[in-house]
Assembly symmetry: C2
Homo-oligomer: 326 residues x 2
Amino acid sequence: MVKMKDVAELAGVSSAAVSRYLNGGYISVDKAERIKKAIELTGYVRSSQARALRTGSTKLIGVIVPKINSESVSRITAGIGQVLGRRGYQMLLANTDNAADRELEYLDLFQNHPVDGIVLVATMITDEHRRAIESCRVPIVLIGQHVEGVACVYHDDYEAAFELGHALAGRVDGKIAYIGVTEEDRAAGYDRRRGFEAGLRAADNPLDAALIRLGSFTLDSGYGAARELLSVAPDISFIACATDTMAAGALRAIDEVRGMGEGMHRVSGFGDNAFLRALTGGIPTVHYGYLTSGVEATNMLLNTLDGAEGENGLKTLKLGHQLMNV
Amino acid sequence: MVKMKDVAELAGVSSAAVSRYLNGGYISVDKAERIKKAIELTGYVRSSQARALRTGSTKLIGVIVPKINSESVSRITAGIGQVLGRRGYQMLLANTDNAADRELEYLDLFQNHPVDGIVLVATMITDEHRRAIESCRVPIVLIGQHVEGVACVYHDDYEAAFELGHALAGRVDGKIAYIGVTEEDRAAGYDRRRGFEAGLRAADNPLDAALIRLGSFTLDSGYGAARELLSVAPDISFIACATDTMAAGALRAIDEVRGMGEGMHRVSGFGDNAFLRALTGGIPTVHYGYLTSGVEATNMLLNTLDGAEGENGLKTLKLGHQLMNV
DNA sequence: TATTATGGTGAAAGCGATTTCAACGACAGG
DNA sequence: CCTGTCGTTGAAATCGCTTTCACCATAATA
């Protein structure tokens, strides 16, 4: 492994000079020239490990996600990766499989480990989370949840759900049911349900509390909840879901019970999943700029790391949404 | 930042002793006890950067993927992450966005950067790739392609496509068309098309070369190719696709042209996408154990890194497949 | 001429771990 | 009593880079 000293010797300078050359310090043109040649000749690349030890910065960003095989998360990480690549960082990915404790575990691991900053794609935020975040040595940005005093990039789930509910109330005649997710997930659980309820109420078509079920983000859980709803209240005419994935499950359930092709006119979701859009011609749903949220969060984080310090500090950013097919 | 020396002083031993304690070397029980206390008291964690510099190992595995927001890749990375987590490694993710040159770029970056090994989820393998892989300093495992002399975990795309083609030939009456992908992708492009053709031929229903189109893995490209096929040859009765994603696009095209609900009986794909399965009740497709391939590849890689060296060397592993809904 | 700047330079001191190595006390065997 | 093991131990040398710091020319200023 060719090291800096070798390059220095070949170029007839000190390693300090080589280091300066690499980092843009004082160096005369002729020495710069010789160093450049020597580097090409030897194929030298600097050891990021030694550099990290010395400078305390690894150019690594930890990204914690709840589940890697979901379209929304994929799009977010795509956005994150895009910015990281452009700005000379790399992504250390940690997948928690929806286990809150593994989230904390990684938060802990990353702190004492080699990352310069953290992006947390959050589902539930407990007090323990809040504590872990506050005591975090490195800057951290949340995606998907709004937490006071923490840098976040998020969507206005309440407002979006309100609009969706309001629009659907006018369009659907008959009973509307709702399949949500755990309220521990403030954004997708609490805000969406509350917003949806408020939207329906505002249109004088309040949601019957008996027609609310809880899923667990998966397609199968949406299917199960919908089957149950349909058997309990066969006269339901619409099932709104907190995620497109669960909506796909509900759709299948309706198809099974009411006949193929019925489902796609009787469900709504959140997230504007591409498959669902193509296969159904588009159910009512909310489009979020997931890629954008990854991009924005990462830029925010990197700005505080590289940047003019206080200039582009960590802050809170609410992104817009778009109702689809209503 | 509390360092090893601090712990050592507090425990009244040398830092060498602390290091040995941490790494399981010679240490007397009473000193071990004191060190343990001191570590708890100070909340010491060792600097992975210093450790990496000294030992030359970072416990990081580079994972290169063509596109992060695709179900197959998600499942593969889920499998990789699972094993890495269990065995004390972390995943450095690099997304190439289907650009072969960025693949090479990352291969290069990772070599001189801080990874102990590489998993490459491969699409096309050019000569340049082969060269880069050979000259790679760290062990590397390929997923998804079979390359001579390189450790790979892959599926038998030819055989799977053959079986699918053979089964469909018996089931479908009328013209069958095919939407493939670039043959630079040996597995998904060349092998699947060849296998499918051979399967049809074996059932005495050869594929008309005029009814073959090329997509680019995306839903939209599948849609476009199918629209074109349908307008050129309106009497087509079935469109087989090289991926489920493109099949979803083709399905939509058929629905548009022939009426809603027609598509799902007239397309096949590869990959057994969960959404597609749920929303259509299941089109003919091939199920691959993507998660398993991630698991197997990673175990293979880590075995050569940690392991009894030659014992569990890098090798080639062909995984099985399963025809669905035929 | 005497004095500052100014642009460059290399020796050397870390960064925080791991690992070699010589040495030590205790104890067994000859 | 001498010698050889055995289990432990800490001092010190690295790992490869960055970054002070003291210093040296040479050019500019007084």
